[in-house]
Amino acid sequence: MILHTRLKEIRLQRSLTQEALARAAGVTRQTIISIEKQKFVPSVKLAMQLAAVLDSPVDRVFWLESGQGGKS
């Protein structure tokens, strides 16, 4: 199963730069870039931190290819 994300889309909606999001979540900008490009799968903890920073439900930010979760 592949973990998909709309991190970039939601980040841009919130007018956040990659640097600002990285700083708020306590990671490097490279990590944000890798997650947005779906080259790095974040841990549950980091996924929840990112969702909290973006003030969005975690299953709206990340979902599995199987369709489980809130891909609405």
Binding site: G26, T28, Q30, T31, S34, K39, F40, L46
Partner: protein
């Protein structure tokens, strides 16, 4: 800026100590100076490299790997360890079959250097890939 002063002071001390250690163990003074200078350059660059999360109030230890960097570091270390052990095993078998008494020290040093090269190359490659 003042929060990171302990980091820079401690790294200058480390770089000088590294250079002095090399000179004391028989390396030429220029080699000790060069390695110390390279180590200091690395320490000065590290906070701006994007490889680490910088904690402003981390005092002498403000740099920390995030989970992606940790994952890359683990993979690179695993690659280096496995390949070094395989090469070491092959060298040991080769010298055993050849009937020689023991593996010469320069060969063992070469295997260790190879391990370090594999680690650095893997680290670079994995960062580039992600």
């Amino acid at each position: 800026m003042t929060a990171t002063i302990p980091y820079y002071v401690s790294r200058v001390v480390l770089a000088v100590a590294l250079g002095a250690l090399l000179v004391m163990t028989g390396s030429p003074w220029w080699a000790g100076s060069l390695i110390g200078a390279l180590a200091l350059a690395w320490f000065l660059w590290a906070p701006y490299s994007g490889r680490y999360v910088v904690r402003p109030h981390g005092r002498a230890m403000p740099l920390r790997r995030d989970e992606r960097a940790e994952s890359i570091n683990n993979k690179a270390a695993r690659n280096a360890f496995v390949l070094t052990m395989l090469v070491l095993g092959a060298v040991t078998v080769y010298y055993g079959i050849s009937g020689l008494a023991a593996v010469p020290l320069p060969v063992l040093k070469g295997v260790l250097i190879l391990g370090a090269v594999i680690y650095v190359t893997s680290d670079f490659w994995l960062r580039r890939g992600e």
